[in-house]
């Protein structure tokens, strides 16, 4: 099954929302908040995962400019998050 970047955008964040909702129900009954955390992680990582797929798809289509720009964006985001945590 071929996955396009827009599919990750469309379904990824929605999946995260559903997982978070189920997690809230589980947390109230079983006291475990792992699913809630997983849901939020899914929501946050959806756009970044889309970028990763754009980078790969562009590389396969030999659109090297888009691929490199996408990788630079991913690197900048991850590096900035890590730096902000240590300050």
């Amino acid at each position: 099954m071929k996955v396009e970047p827009q599919d990750i955008l469309r379904y990824g964040a929605l999946a995260g929302l559903i997982v978070a909702l189920i997690g809230e129900i589980v947390e109230h009954s079983a006291g475990l908040n792992l699913l809630v955390l997983l849901g939020l992680i899914l929501i946050i990582s959806t756009p970044i995962a889309t970028l990763v797929l754009i980078s790969i798809v562009s590389l396969l289509r030999r659109d090297y400019v888009i691929s490199i720009l996408a990788q630079l964006s991913i690197g900048a985001i991850i590096a900035s998050i890590i730096i902000s945590l240590y300050r």
């Binding site: 929605l14 978070a20 849901g39 946050i44 756009p47 970044i48 630079l72 964006s73 902000s84």
Partner: protein, 252 residues
């Protein structure tokens, strides 16, 4: 209450063509008494969810100028993370006051646009001049800061940057900004998430309400005048901005 408010926010956003982020945070802070940092963190995650569906459509229809988006996104995302860092380290009242100033800008800008005659752009655009790209990259940082600091998508600054600074047609600027909003919100949201600030149940309630609200708004689009909705929305934002600015004056 949050779910019902979110339906209203989605409705107004769809009719007025306005991002919901600028209403979500004031609603949570002023009406529901949320801590401003929790409200901002929650709003950012909600924006990721709600912007994703529109962005996926634009991406599928190839309306997004991917090259421009990827040129601007690194500085925008860094700005969002810097904005989140600022909100986490500045006094709450200062953040509220700064948010009030931003809301004032948004409301006055909206009033000005509602009262002026609009012109429709036509035609495509060629290669963007290098100086304009640099200007766009530098100013996008501030769009990112506004997103991370205030829990908005950043489109309210990003679209004018692309349209006015980089001379990109408005429709392409809106589609490209829509794609960037999710990434920017996710970058700022990640910092808040690691600090444990977003309220998951509120994220679910907001996102679940905004989507049907926006669908309803889209259905009623033909029956209500967007200009009237924008003016009402501007008045609400103006009131919210005054309340926020007042809180920092009282604190000083």
């Amino acid at each position: 209450m949050l779910f019902l408010g979110a339906i209203g926010i989605g409705f107004v956003s769809a009719i007025g063509g306005i991002g919901g982020g600028s209403l979500m945070v004031p609603f949570m802070v002023l009406v529901l008494n949320y801590d401003v940092r929790v409200a901002i963190a929650t709003s950012l995650l909600c924006i990721v969810v709600t912007s994703s569906s529109a962005a996926s459509v634009y991406l599928e229809k190839k309306l997004v100028d991917l090259k421009t988006a990827l040129i601007l996104e690194p500085t925008t995302a860094v700005g969002a993370i810097a904005g989140a860092y600022l909100t986490l380290n500045l006094p709450v009242e200062v953040v509220k006051g700064a948010l009030g100033v931003l809301l004032l800008y948004i409301s006055l800008n909206m009033i000005r646009k509602s009262l002026s005659k609009t012109t429709v752009e036509s035609g495509g655009y060629g290669k963007i001049a290098f100086k304009r790209k640099i200007a766009g990259v530098l100013t996008s940082f501030f769009a990112g800061v506004s997103s991370g600091m205030f829990g908005i998508g950043g489109g309210v600054l990003q679209v004018p940057i692309m349209n006015v600074v980089m001379k990109i047609p408005i429709k392409v600027a809106v589609a490209t900004s829509s794609f960037m909003v999710g990434l920017t919100a996710a970058s700022g949201g990640a910092v808040y998430f690691i600090k444990g600030l977003p309220d998951p149940l509120s994220v679910v309630a907001l996102a679940s309400g905004i989507v049907p609200g926006a669908t309803l708004g889209a259905k009623y689009l033909g029956r209500l005048k967007p200009r009237t909705v924008k003016l009402v929305f501007s008045a609400i934002l103006l009131y919210a901005s005054i309340r926020m600015i007042q809180s920092v004056i009282n604190w000083v």
